[in-house]
């Protein structure tokens, strides 16, 4: 039977991984994957992207494990890497141009949200609009309104100042409202 004393700490597992024990890293992944999946799921379109970005996150964690100082909880450090991986993915997406056909986005935007009672439908509408935002704006609005993080937490995760986060959140929200209103006008024509 496992007693609480027998459960190795994250710091112990980090040291064991650095000593070459792959099982220790597997245990770290098992412990923290839910947190990473929850963050990344807000930024991706499908399960393939979700799996890919989560893997990228943990590979970065593995490669930079020596840089982990242990002055903050391991979960915070991993979350920060996950947020950065999402931001990189958003920027790449932006450079490539949205893979979602414009008609699909317009269809999602034009569907009245109040007619759709499921969260999936609301997510489709919201995602359609959010894909038109700048990566930084999308990052802030996702962390603030969907993950319900505080300004301080977002600042710590992204490395941007609290004032910057606040201004971005305000602008992004304004932009989102404009996009949704624009879709309503299109529908009424």
């Amino acid at each position: 039977m496992n007693t609480p004393e027998e459960v190795p700490s994250d710091d112990y597992l980090v040291k064991a991984t650095l000593a070459g024990q792959d099982e220790a890293f597997t245990e770290l992944v098992r412990r923290h994957k839910r947190k990473v999946f929850t963050i990344v799921a807000r930024f991706v379109k499908n399960n393939y992207e979700l799996d890919d970005i989560c893997q990228e996150t943990f590979i970065k964690v593995y490669q930079n494990l020596r840089a982990y100082r242990g002055d903050a909880p391991f979960e915070h450090w991993v979350s920060k890497i996950a947020v950065n991986a999402c931001y990189d993915a958003l920027r790449k997406q932006r450079r490539r141009g949205s893979e979602v056909p414009l008609e699909d986005v317009e269809f999602a935007l034009s569907a009245p949200a109040h007619d759709k009672d499921s969260g999936d439908a609301a997510w489709e509408v919201l995602r359609g609009a959010m894909e038109k935002l700048r990566p930084k704006d999308r990052m802030v609005i996702t962390l603030l309104n969907l993950e319900e993080k505080s300004l301080r937490e977002i600042s710590a995760l992204t490395g941007w100042s609290e004032a910057n986060v606040k201004v971005r959140a305000f602008r992004a929200r304004k932009e989102l409202k404009k996009l949704l209103e624009g879709s309503d006008e299109k529908r009424s024509q």
Partner: protein
């Protein structure tokens, strides 16, 4: 962030956010077997990198013996080519003594 409750677009946006939050977590099926896939990718990356390090270690004795041989060669060649400055001075003094004797320039 303060929102205006009388603004319908604010209300609509907040209801969308709330609906998405309530829908909750959607990564369960991808989580299955995630560690196995990840560790396989990490091991594959390690194996791709390893031949270089492997060859470096394998060639280490050869590098070491080259360094030792070069050290010995440098040591031997330096000991052969070293010039004894005191001998030159001695020879120089003998020459000047002979010249002085022949020239009849004897100070003693």
């Amino acid at each position: 962030m303060k929102n205006d409750p009388s603004d319908p677009s604010d209300v609509r946006l907040d209801s969308l956010f709330a609906a998405v939050r309530e829908a909750g977590y959607r990564g369960l099926e991808v989580e299955h077997g995630f560690e196995t896939r990840l560790m396989a990718r990490i091991r594959a990356g390690r194996e791709r990198r390893s031949p270089f390090f492997l060859w470096t270690w394998r060639l280490m004795p050869a590098f070491l013996s080259i360094v030792v041989l070069m050290g010995i060669w440098v040591f031997i060649s330096e000991s052969h080519s070293s010039v004894d400055l005191s001998a030159i001075t001695r020879i120089g003094n003998e020459d000047s003594t002979v010249v002085a004797f022949l020239a009849g320039d004897n100070n003693e």
